[in-house]
Structures are given as structure tokens and as C-alpha cells.
Amino acid sequence: MTAEPILSVRNLTTAFRADGGWKPVVRNVSFDVSAGETLAIVGESGSGKSVTSLSIMRLLAEGSSRIEGEVILNGRNLLALSEKEMRAVRGNEVSMIFQEPMTSLNPIFTIGRQISEVLTRHKGMTATQARAETIRMLERVRIPNANTRFDEYPHQFSGGMRQRVMIAMALASRPKLLIADEPTTALDVTIQGQILDLIKELQDEEGMAVLFITHDMGVVAEIADRTVVMFRGDAVETGPTSEIFHHGEHPYTRALLSAVPKLGSMEGRTAPLRFPVVDTKTGISVAPVESKGTVSTQQPILEVKNLVTRFPVRSGLFSRQTGAIHAVENVSFDLRQGETLSLVGESGCGKSTTGRSIMRLIEPTSGEIQLDGYNVRGLGSMELQRMRKSIQMIFQDPFSSLNPRMNVGQAIAEPFLKHRLGNRAEAREKAAYLLDRVGLSGDIMGRFPHEFSGGQRQRIAIARALSLDPKVIVADESVSALDVSIKAQVCNLLLDLQESLDLAFLFISHDMAVVERVSHRVAVMYLGEIVEIGPRAAVFENPQHPYTKKLMAAVPVPDPARRGIRRGISNDELKSPVRPVGFKPPVRQYREVSDGHLVQVA
């Protein structure tokens, strides 16, 4: 810590032009980063953490932003440099990697060109020299066949590989400081593990300083030496990571940490457990309440047998079918009233397709679905409409799943009216009642979605899903896009609703820690199949399938004692479920580990 800092930020204040005035979004933030050190800036959306990083790079739009304070890099104040001098700093002394590997690379240039551009721009290399150096960089970020992949385009790479390309590009000029702005947020958890490992390794080799911006406390615990906690534009607490985690002083730090689900924290419990709620102002904590026994012992409300959903892949002059995506393959499970069954897995594993197939939003290829007395696959269009009263869905993105031109009251009342469950007055009454249930007040009915925050919108979406009094709710990544503290509140709300309304949830998520918290039973999906299913405690405490184990090992745990761990995860990418025509899926065998805990063995 005594080393001379590479980057020293002093009283950084960034303001945006709004309504004719200047509105500060980052206020008086100060911190240092030394060579070889990782400093994490952690905070929720709107905390100003990304704006801080863009201010350091001076990448904010000039006319509409104003940066004050000092950003001292190796003794030079970056804020005092001319734009031309600043360009020689960007990508050379300070590099940056971004959250979205899918959109952060230019789609029409080869990745080789995009990396070597940095070298020809800053290091004065010739094209040939830059090519050789780029290939060396690609090898260093462990991209196989770097030599041939030099001439490939971004779309030919998976998300994880693109993020490797971004890292190679950022490190090509050997910067003194790397700013990583949520570099793993958009990645699957096993890929996230690989990228975190890679950043740590390269940092050890190069000795650069890393400024790591994230909202994920698990990632912070694993990667950061020191941590800055930001809240609504202020740095509320700065200190060594373990200090922050164990002796956080500021109420917000404590609130944030208590809201973070921690994998393995549910040992010895059977029922789902609510998240503790800590007041962000006072820091007073309300102890979490365990969910009451809600699971009915009667016939399951939803029974799925041998569900298969495939999408044809066509190509050639006459678009002949040349293969199929086996999105869901021979999936069977049941769900009781008052029960939460979680489907977990990484992107492309078929968990969302399963949810949509059950509602027949996507037409399944074969299988049987019994829902609340309906044989779902045999229903005509009129009956299908009626069936949907029994099953409703909550989506991931609360911003795009509400019609911006419908006010809240209309949005909630619409399903009620369309299904002719009553007249307008009754619909309004119902909407007011439901808003109250989801923790909002009934007098917001005349307002429009853009007036609400993400968490509030998700509550509105939940109220809308409840307006038909469904028995089953498919929650497709419904809390994934929400900030930690909001996520905790919405999870608690779902548990409350389950208790009082006896709802069955099909909880689709990639987040193992949240799943552990809210589920009664868990099914792990991989390449369209369920590889392991059972009571939550059995699956989490005694995982049997290698994929379940791998998935759990990859989850970052918010415990600073794990700082510096290397997972040694191989460079595997997620496999593709595309099969040729006539492919016969193998017949799977399952072994019963304990009561209701099944694992695929062959």
C-alpha cells in the first residue's frame, strides 16, 4: 500500500447538463490505485460507478458533461490535458474493457485489425509487426488457433471469447492502468470464472493497476484488494476489501452486503428464506423470516412429461431443413401448489424455452403437459386462452415488458377485462388491490411506466401477472436484471405472495445463489436436458452431476477469504445443442440419490 499510486483521483465531481442546469452524478470521489493492485468500485445502478470510470478516461460527451477535480496518472493531471494529448493516453497508458462483449467490438472489422490498430496507433508499429504482436496477445488471453482467428470477425466468437479479445486489445499497449467496467456481468457464470482468472493472471505478469467496476459483491470479494462503495454519486466507504466485508461502517454498505445472496448459506434449512432487510439510512437490520410450509401434498398442479421442443435449422437454395436446435429434450417434472421449482443453467440450456413451451408461447414438438386439469398440448385456441388464466409469466426486463403508452392501472386491468372477469369498476378495484399486495399504493394507477424505477416496474409486472388469479407463475429471470437490494425485496415479495396466495412458481434463473434462497426444489439443465433434479437441500449440499458441481464451483462467493483463488477452469465454451437431421437423442438413465433427488447417469 506504500507504493506510489499509479492513479490518484482527487475530489472528482462529474455533472451532467439537465433542464438547463448542472446535475452532479458523481460527487467528491477520491481514491488511489497502485501498481499491481486491484481496486473495486462497487455500487448499484445510478451510483455513478461507470460515470467515474468514463470521467477518468474523459469519454463522456463534451458539451453535456462537466468533470471537476483531479485525475492524476503518473504525476500528470489528465483533466488538464488537451483532447489530443488525452488521445495518446487512452488505449496506451489507460485501457478499458466494457460490459457488453457482444456489442463492444466493431462488427465489420476483423478482431485482428481491431487489436493491431492499438499497436499501430500508439506504438508506431508497422502492420506486420502489429500482426505478430497481436497474435502473441491472442495467445496470451488463451484464444486457441490465434494465427487463423486473427482474420475472423467478432460474430464468429462466443461472448467469453469476445471478452478475451477485448482484454487482448486493452493490454496490447501494456497500459499502466486497466479499467474493467463490469467485464463479466453479461457472461455465464463458468465463463465469468475463466475471465476473472485471466485478469488476475495477466495482472500478476504485467504488474498493472486494475480499477474494477462491478455490482457483484461476490466478484469484489474474489478480485479486489481494496474497495470503494458508491451510493447515489458518493463514495460512502473506502477500505481494504476484508474490512469492508467484515466491519463495514456505513449503513448502506451493510444493507448491500446483507442483501447479497451467498451460496451455501442455506445449509441445514429446508424451506426458502427471505432476505434480511437493512435500512440504508439507519443500518438497522430486520432478521429474515423463513417461509412457512406452503407446499401442498395434493396432486401436482403442473405435470410435464417428456417435453421436447426443437427448432428447425434451414439452409441452402430451397431452405431445406439441415438440422435442429434441440432446445428442450425429454424434460419431465411436476410442480405442486405453493411450491417453487427452479430451473437453473447457463445461456442456451433451454430453461426459458421450457417455460415458454409449457405455456405454449412456443409450440413444443412432443410430450405431455397437464396444467390445472388442462391437457395443454391438446387445447384449441379458445381453450388455450382460458388455460392461460391458470398460468402467467413475469419476464426479465421490467423496462420492455410494460407498454409505455398504457398507464399502470390499464396494464394491470387489461388481462382481467380481456378475460371478461368483470366490468371496468371491478377491474379498477382489482388493480388497486393488487398494487397494494405488491407493496405499491393504489393511487399510482394513472401514472405511466417511465415514471417508475426498475424494481417498481417489476412489482407492477407481478401485479399484472396476478390479475387473473393464476395458480402457476413462470418467473423467467424475473429478478436477474434488478439491483441487489431490489432483487432481495422482490424475492421477499414473491415468497410473501406464495404464502398468502398459495402460488406455484417455476423460477427460471441462472443465479445459483438466488435459486438456493427461494426454491423448494431445483432442476439443473444442460443442453436442453435436466441433468439433476431434487429437493433444494439435496442438490446444493450433495450435488452429484459433474455439471452441477462445475456450476456451483464457478459462483463467486462474497467472502474476501477467497481472494486470490484460481478455479483452474478449462477454457471450454458452452456446447451447442444443434443436431443434424435424423439425430436420435440417447436414452437417458437416472439414478435416485435420495428421496426425490435424481441425477442423470448416462
Partner: protein, 315 residues
């Protein structure tokens, strides 16, 4: 790539067939008798009947259609009722004129519209952007013929710099040919430039806010590289598609412009043919235009695919 082109050509066949039926029936539905128009003062029923027989206008309409389309497929578009020349010959005479006009107009449109669009996007919400938008709006709202006439008055009549009308083939006298074509292609080009400018601007704005542009800036690239290389090449894609569609507008505009500058091109040919109920010529010209339009769009699609690595791979 051959599969892709093959697919597109297959799709073009029914399109052309539908156009041919449409063009053919429209002719039959229009009031007016070509034979009367052709016979002039002659009103002897026997003569008229003879003419009808000669041009096979007494056959049932489907038979007439089949005869015509059979001819089209073998490269025979029939004989002009008016001049007795083969329609193919007429088209071969007039087509190069219009092609030259089209190419020169497109050059004007691109040279004016695209840089203005880029500039307006980069300097969004500044005086420059407003001025560009204003110019574009006037370009769209000023009628071609008015601009044409004003230009003739100013440049030819008052200043005497350029000839007011007429045409010379580029192969015979290139300088004179360019001189006669500058004004008409400028008139045609400005209208297209306005549309191009608006679209280039919005395409550029979309690209400039993309994550990969932020990446390019974070690499320390110069504004020139960021705008011209990283942004514009991406923004060009939608502009290419638009250009092919603008080709239709160009042909429509050419009709009027050729009249004003008395250029003996396609536009003049079709106007004369319509007035004279010269069926064979109208049909031939329209079919030819349709083929040209489809071809332009095919070229645009191929270009689009070639410039877009993502699609290139799927071929």
C-alpha cells in the same frame, strides 16, 4: 454466394411476371384506341380493321398476353405502333441516355448527401446540423421542374455557361455531353441528396452511440478514424439499401427532368408513348424499368452482404 444470388433471381421471376400482367392489363383498361390514335384522319372501318388484324388486337386478351410475353422472353418487345420501329431498337437508343443521367445524378446525390449527413450527425444539435436539415428540407420541397427552370434561366440564359437543353452522346463528344447533362443531373441529384442526407444522418447517429464506437474512442483513435472508418462503414449499410430504392424515385424524376431539358431519354420515350397509346413501347419501357429496378436492388443486396461480414459468412 451463388446460392444467395440464385435465390434472389428465383424470387425475381414471379415479381416480373406479376408486373408484366399488371402492365399489360392496365393498358387494356385504359380508355382510348391505339388504332384510332395511329390512323389519324383515316376513319375507314375496313382500314382500321386491317390494322387491328395486323397488330393482332382482335385476339382474345390472354392470347395477346401470351404472344407478347413470348416475344419478351425471346428479346422481341414488338413494334412501335407509332414509328414502326422495333421497341428493342428504341430502347437501345434511349437507354444509354437515361443511364448516363442516372449515374451522374447519383454521383451528385452522394457527393452532396452523404458528407452532409455525416457532418450533421457528428455536429448534432449545432448550427451546422440545423443548416444541413434546412437545406435538406428545401431540397425535398422544391419541385424538380421549378429548380430546373430556374437553373436554365440563371446558368444558361443569363450567364451563358452551359447549354440550356439538348443532348450529345458521351461517346461522340464527351465534353459537350457532360456540359448538357450537368444541370439535369444536378436537379435530379439534389432531391435524392436530401433523402440520402437524412438517412445518413440517422444511420450515423445510431452507430455513433454504439458500444464499439466507445471502444474505438477508448483506444485513443483520432476522431477521423472513429468517424470515417469505424462509424461510417457501419452506417453505410442501410444507406446502400436506400440507394437502390431511390433508383425508383430517380426514374420517376427523370420523366419530368428529361422533358424540361429536352433530353431524348427513357422518360421522354414513355411520355410520348403514353400520349400516343403506343402500347408496345409503354409495355417494353415499363418492363425494362422493372428489370432495371430489380437488378439495382439485387446489386444493393449483394453489396450489403459483401460489406457485412456477418451475412457474408452465412452464404
Amino acid at each position: 454466394m451463388p446460392v444467395y444470388i440464385g435465390k434472389r433471381l428465383l424470387v425475381a421471376i414471379p415479381t416480373l411476371l406479376i408486373i408484366s400482367i399488371f402492365v399489360f392489363s392496365l393498358q387494356k383498361l385504359l380508355p382510348g384506341d391505339p388504332i384510332l390514335a395511329m390512323a389519324g384522319e383515316e376513319r375507314d372501318p375496313a382500314v382500321l380493321e386491317l390494322l387491328r388484324e395486323k397488330y393482332r388486337l382482335n385476339d382474345p386478351i390472354p392470347v395477346q398476353y401470351v404472344t407478347w410475353i413470348g416475344g419478351v422472353l425471346t428479346g422481341d418487345l414488338g413494334i412501335s405502333l407509332r414509328t414502326n420501329q422495333p421497341v428493342t431498337e428504341l430502347i437501345a437508343q434511349k437507354l444509354p441516355v437515361t443511364i448516363q443521367l442516372a449515374i451522374m445524378s447519383m454521383i451528385f446525390a452522394f457527393v452532396i448527401g452523404v458528407p452532409m449527413g455525416i457532418l450533421a450527425a457528428v455536429k448534432k444539435n449545432t448550427v451546422l446540423d440545423y443548416v444541413a436539415s434546412l437545406v435538406a428540407l428545401s431540397g425535398l420541397s422544391v419541385p424538380n421542374f421549378w429548380l430546373g427552370i430556374m437553373l436554365i434561366l440563371l446558368v444558361s440564359v443569363n450567364l451563358g455557361w452551359l447549354p440550356a437543353s439538348g443532348f450529345e452522346s458521351i461517346f461522340v463528344d464527351p465534353v459537350r455531353s457532360l456540359q448538357t447533362m450537368i444541370m439535369p443531373s444536378f436537379v435530379l441529384g439534389t432531391a435524392l441528396a436530401a433523402t440520402l442526407m437524412r438517412h445518413t444522418r440517422s444511420a450515423m447517429l445510431g452507430v455513433l452511440s454504439a458500444d464499439y464506437i466507445r471502444t474505438a474512442r477508448a483506444k485513443g483513435l483520432s476522431p477521423r478514424d472513429v468517424i470515417l472508418s469505424h462509424s461510417f462503414r457501419n452506417a453505410l449499410l442501410p444507406v446502400i439499401t436506400l440507394t437502390a430504392l431511390l433508383f425508383g424515385e430517380l426514374l420517376a424524376g427523370a420523366v419530368l427532368t428529361e422533358q424540361i431539358f429536352t433530353i431524348p431519354g427513357f422518360g421522354k420515350l414513355i411520355v410520348d408513348a403514353v400520349f400516343n397509346r403506343d402500347y408496345a413501347v409503354v409495355q417494353g419501357v415499363v418492363m425494362c424499368t422493372a428489370v432495371g429496378f430489380i437488378l439495382m436492388n439485387l446489386i444493393a443486396d449483394i453489396l450489403y452482404v459483401l460489406l457485412n461480414p456477418r451475412l457474408r459468412a452465412s452464404l
